[in-house]
């Protein structure tokens, strides 16, 4: 039985990226980090007039998706953006395209096995029942 798998997001890095990016606050945080390079968590919270807890929740999602890195030095928490992950999210398309192109080649080779004189695939037995 194939139902919607309950932990699909937990095991799919690309879905995590998309889910993280789907929220406007998180996109703004990411934009701020892209411009500043890195920032303290307390500084990130300020423009949003959000509690540190609320910002932390967003940062956790961004971190889990691999979009930001967190660095703790003493009591100071700093975040910086990890640009690799966004590029990896785009690679799903490339990988799937390559996969199907290879399989299409294999399909073509397999179809060439079709035996015209017998009107059957080469590996099919002739009908002996008559």
């Amino acid at each position: 039985m194939v139902e919607q798998l309950p932990h699909a997001d937990a095991i799919d890095p690309v879905s995590l990226v998309f889910a993280a990016l789907a929220d406007p606050t998180r996109r703004s945080i990411l934009a701020a980090l892209a411009q500043q390079g890195s920032a303290r968590v307390t500084d990130l919270a300020q423009p949003f007039r959000m509690s540190l807890q609320a910002v932390s929740k967003h940062l956790k999602k961004l971190e889990r998706a691999g979009l930001i890195k967190r660095d703790v030095q003493g009591r100071v928490h700093r975040c910086s953006m990890d640009p690799t992950t966004l590029r990896l999210a785009a690679s799903w398309i490339e990988e799937q395209t390559k996969f199907w192109q290879n399989r299409f080649d294999a399909l073509g080779k397999y179809l060439e096995e079709y035996d015209e004189s017998r009107d059957k695939m080469r590996d099919e037995p002739d009908d002996d029942s008559l």
Partner: protein, 159 residues
């Protein structure tokens, strides 16, 4: 001879077209009969060892792959549309040591041409339309901001 694959894609979907000189019903059989699927869906990296499929709308399928090193991978899903010999639509979920990919959707169309068959495959990143729309919005907005990341990081002042 196989021809060039025509490809187009958006961030969440790819579309491939290819012409084959084989008849449409043969293409259909190649995609829907387990012993035939094994012949071409296998690769040297992943051998399709076991197939179970229930070819009808709502029916499940399950492909079990093994690599030469003994790693395993599974592809499974449900058939959404089964219209022989022209349209096959199914969800596609990959799991295993090669990396997990969430529920996606594959649509394969077989179109009769004078010299054979045109096969069109569309692979959608999200099987649910709502998910896809929500995520595509987020993705496109971020693409604008972040694709040229080195440039934006070097830019002075607020953006």
């Amino acid at each position: 001879m196989t021809e060039q694959t025509l490809a187009e894609f958006t961030p969440d979907m790819l579309q491939l077209k290819r012409r084959y000189s084989a008849r449409r019903d043969l293409l259909w059989r190649a995609w829907t009969e387990p012993e035939r699927i094994k012949q071409w869906l296998s690769s040297s990296e992943w051998v399709l060892e076991k197939i179970a499929l229930d070819l009808r709308a709502g029916g499940d399928y399950h492909f079990f792959f093994r690599s030469p090193e003994g790693k395993t991978s599974e592809v499974f899903g449900k058939y959404e549309t089964v219209e022989a010999p022209s349209l096959l639509v199914f969800t596609w979920f990959v799991t295993g040591e090669c990396g997990d990919v969430a529920n996606t959707r594959v649509c394969v169309e077989f179109i009769e041409r004078a010299d054979g068959t045109e096969m069109r495959l569309r692979h959608e990143r999200f099987a649910s339309r709502t998910d896809r729309n929500n995520h595509l919005t987020g993705w496109l907005e971020c693409m604008d901001r972040f694709v040229d990341l080195p440039a934006s990081m070097m830019a002075q002042g607020a953006g």
